[in-house]
């Protein structure tokens, strides 16, 4: 049976509710370009000493395609469109084999293939509105060993939803064979809910089905400890001071060497995180709102505290402590 009022029962946040009450009201229109354009986000993050993967160079126009030849000196790198949404158009090259590069999936790409991909990016194939776009080439993040068991050909990332500067809900996103190494739930990646107090994974979701094991490796998803958990939440809370958007998703990756890095921001974070956490967003949103106006103005330390208090107040954690 499908529950006819999941909003009441689970505190489920629907698309209409998210758009009408949260993103439309909390996110000022003028900040969208900053978030939608990954190059701008990156510059902004770097200028505020927030960690992100290092930018090698960007290609802004078709005539700059010749600079792409510089990649022949690179062994591993990532090519991204500046305004691609939902992980579209991202090309991850993990190794160089002769004159060719190897994708995470093992497929070999020649210089021509890569040039074609970049020119597609420039023509706006992957951009939000089909507008002309820029491509950039950045440091390839190597997945932290903690994820070795569950990560399949790609880097898992951690989505933190920040509401008025307070970390609200998190999930670990695991690439699958189906998602082609990408960590987007849309494309078939697995989302694993996270206990935000500890940074330990709970169950997972794959294409809106609840799962307990990774579909490719059959490794149990629950019980994984995310490294650098506290410092990551700190970075998330600090990010609000740079990007004053009230309802935002921050995507972290954890690099073997560099630790947590902010990969991108998302002004319209998806709703599947509720499935991953088996919990609706509404109770938490309301708990944060209960602190009244001015939550945004508090220091990041205080906002992290609020986040913990909120977790204790909302139902599922209460139940755990009871048990």
């Amino acid at each position: 049976m499908i529950c006819l009022n999941p909003k009441k029962k689970f505190g489920l946040l629907g698309m209409n509710h998210r758009n009408g009450w949260y993103t439309l009201i909390r996110n000022p229109r003028r900040l969208y370009p900053l978030v939608d354009d990954k190059l701008k986000t990156k510059e902004c993050l770097e200028s505020h000493q927030l960690p992100s993967p290092e930018l090698y160079f960007s290609i802004n126009h078709n005539f700059e395609l010749k600079f792409l030849r510089e990649i022949k000196f690179l062994k591993e790198f990532v090519i991204k469109p500046a305004r691609g949404a939902e992980g579209r158009g991202i090309l991850v090259l993990v190794d160089k084999v002769g004159t060719q590069w190897k994708k995470a999936s093992g497929e070999l790409l020649s210089m021509d293939d890569i040039e074609y991909h970049v020119s597609n990016i420039l023509a706006g194939l992957y951009s939000l509105g089909g507008l002309d776009d820029q491509a950039f080439i950045e440091y390839r993040v190597r997945s932290h060993v903690a994820f070795r068991a569950v990560a399949f050909q790609g880097v898992p990332d951690i989505r933190v939803i920040l509401y008025r500067g307070v970390p609200l809900m998190c999930m670990l996103r695991l690439p699958t064979k189906e998602s082609d190494g990408k960590a987007n739930l849309h494309q078939g990646a697995v989302g694993a809910g996270l206990n935000m107090l500890e940074g330990i994974t709970m169950g997972g979701v794959h294409h809106s089905l609840l799962i307990d094991r990774h579909p490719d490796t059959q490794v149990p998803i629950a019980g994984l400890k995310v490294p650098f958990w506290e410092s990551m939440l700190e970075t998330a809370a600090k990010t609000y001071e740079v990007f004053k958007m009230g309802y935002i998703g921050i995507d972290f990756v954890i690099d073997q060497i560099l630790g947590p890095l902010i990969l991108e921001l998302n002004a319209r974070p998806g709703l599947s995180i509720q499935l991953a956490n088996r919990e609706g967003l509404l109770p938490r949103l309301r708990a944060v709102d209960a602190y009244g106006a001015g939550v945004e103005e508090l220091s990041w330390e205080r906002r992290l505290e609020i986040s913990r208090e909120m977790l204790h107040k909302t139902s599922s954690f209460k139940k755990e402590t009871k048990a």
Binding site: M1, I2, C3, L4, N5, P6, K7, K9, F10, G11, L12, G14, M15, N16, H17, G20, W21, I25, A85, E86, R88, D112, D113, Y116, S119, N120, A123, G124, L125, Y126, G130, H186, Q187, V205, S208, L209, L210, L271, S272, Q274, L275, R278, G280, S315, S316, K319
Partner: protein, 521 residues
């Protein structure tokens, strides 16, 4: 926030309601003291069969006059070329034309009419004119001279005129005598093909046409301008008989006389005038078969007599206005489908345009063409992906191929004799072809599965829009009361603050129900 929105929506609805009620109460001729008015809805259906050559059909269309108001006219042209000829002193004529007509077509003309009954007094002091051609201005001469079937100069007619009126010179008395003469002498008999005036006088049996011509001929012979008027006697149901009566010009007024039904200087409120003069209601060339029916029903909505209403527009602009009015209606349906149900579509306008296209070519044809176009695009895309072509040229190639596919379909259809494929006009084809661009973009953005899902969603929503805008009531009321657009806006405002769960989200988050036992939230 919500309070403000609801308040604004309420204001819009109130404004619309006020405007509509003002129109209903104070608009139109309907508030006048005329008590014996009738509202009718008349549909003329012509089933025509071509014989594979050029074909032309003409139909005289009713006009507004002192006692009838025509409104809410609607033409179904079945893809034939159609135009209306309106000249000040001739009948209003609708023409349908086709360069090559093979097979059956159905033409329909539907309109509403508000009719009044009228009684006239013939002034007692009017006298016959000795030299009518000098008394009456030149444009009345055609109503005095004999015509092919109204032989007013004929000796027999003149002799009977003498016999009927004697030395009477008073116009009122003359007309009364002529009326009684025709009524007394000629027996009514329904017949195929009306007689002319002379023939009627010889046989003394005739239908309405023959009797009217005789009365008209006698009146003209007496020097009274006289003409035939033709139309339908309205009674609920289906019929295909028309009626003819006479109008005589006395003391500056055209006064109706119906000899057959004994309406002397009066006309009842169910007589609809379609043409004036000795004329045919229909004329056609190039047809092997022609059938017509009148479906007559009662209309409830009075005409809106307001120079600022849409009825004041010329008739072909009315057709544009009708289509334009349907767009917001469609947008409402799309908004509902997207925000409340959660069906993915290609934008807001996409499904509306498709629905308009479906309306011109049938729903089945539309979906068939759409499938062909989308599949062609999809297959081609797969091939082109190997060649590594830039985005825009690739899109252009796909578009070209789709055009080739459509043309090929037409050639194949023509070879196998499916002629109806040619009746598709340009507009729907362009809309359907445009879908391929959206398909292609969605395919590269969200993958093939999502593109097919969105296409299906678009078709489903377009079909919903199609069924809504096809509703007769929707069209009629939107046109009569464009204020409804304000109500649509109000509904959209409320919809814009709808924060409930979408129906599709119930499915998306269905798995949460598995947790029912585990967590008691």
């Amino acid at each position: 926030m919500n309070r403000k929105v609801y308040l604004f929506a309420l204001l819009l609805i109130l404004a619309a309601a006020a405007s509509i009620s003002a129109k209903v109460v104070h608009g139109g001729h309907t508030v006048s003291s005329e008590y014996s008015r009738h509202l009718w809805r008349i549909n003329m259906t012509m089933n025509i069969t071509g014989k594979g050559s050029r074909a032309k059909v003409r139909l005289t269309l009713p006009r507004d006059n002192a006692r009838q108001t025509i409104y809410n006219e609607h033409f179904e042209n079945d893809e034939m070329v159609f135009y209306v000829r309106e000249r000040p002193d001739t009948n209003r004529i609708g023409f349908w034309r086709s360069e090559l007509l093979d097979g059956r077509k159905t033409l329909q003309y539907t309109f509403s009419a508000q009719l009044k009954s009228l009684m006239y007094d013939i002034p007692k002091d009017a006298h016959l004119s000795v030299e009518p051609f000098k008394t009456y201005p030149v444009d009345f001469h055609r109503w005095l001279e004999p015509s092919e079937f109204i032989q007013s100069k004929d000796v027999i007619i003149r002799r009977h005129l003498k016999k009927a009126i004697g030395r009477e010179k008073n116009t009122a008395a003359v007309i009364r005598k002529l009326f009684d003469f025709v009524r007394g002498q000629v027996r009514y008999r329904s017949e195929k093909g009306s007689k002319d005036a002379k023939e009627t006088l010889k046989k003394l049996t005739a239908d309405c046409g023959g009797q009217a011509r005789l009365f008209c001929a006698l009146s003209r012979a007496a020097g009274i301008p006289s003409r035939l008027a033709g139309g339908i006697i309205l009674t609920g149901g289906t019929k295909n008989t028309t009626h003819v009566w006479v109008e005589n010009y006395v003391a500056g007024k055209w006064i109706p006389f119906d000899v057959v039904n004994d309406h002397y200087a009066s006309i009842p409120n169910h007589y609809l005038e379609l043409y004036r003069g000795d004329y045919y209601l229909f004329k056609y060339v190039g047809l092997s078969k022609f059938e017509y029916f009148f479906f007559i029903d009662v209309e409830n909505m009075p005409p809106v007599d307001n120079r600022w209403s849409l009825y004041a527009l010329p008739i072909h602009f009315q057709a544009f206005a009708k289509v334009l009015l349907l767009i917001p209606m469609g947008a409402l349906v799309v908004a509902f489908c997207r925000s409340v149900i959660g069906i993915p579509t290609y934008g807001t306008f996409g499904p509306i345009l498709l629905a308009l296209a479906f309306q011109e070519i049938s729903l089945q044809m539309g979906i068939f063409f759409l499938s062909v176009v989308v599949l062609t695009g999809w297959v081609l895309r797969k091939i082109l992906d190997h060649l590594k072509i830039l985005v825009i040229p690739r899109m252009a190639i796909i578009l070209t191929m789709v055009v080739i596919a459509v043309l090929a379909m037409m050639v194949v259809g023509s070879y196998f004799g499916a002629k109806n494929i040619f009746y598709i006009s340009l507009f729907p084809m362009i809309i359907i072809t445009w879908i391929i661009e959206r398909f292609s973009v969605t395919q590269s953005e969200d993958g093939t599965l999502a593109a097919f899902q969105t296409s299906l969603g678009t078709i489903a929503v377009a079909a919903a829009v199609y069924y809504v805008i096809r509703m007769h009531a929707v069209r009629i009321y939107l046109f009569a009361f464009p204020e409804i657009l304000l109500i649509i806006m109000a509904l959209l405002l409320v919809l814009g603050r709808y924060t409930g769960i979408r129906v599709m989200e119930l499915w998306r988050f269905r798995e949460l129900n598995r947790l029912k036992g585990k967590t008691s939230l």
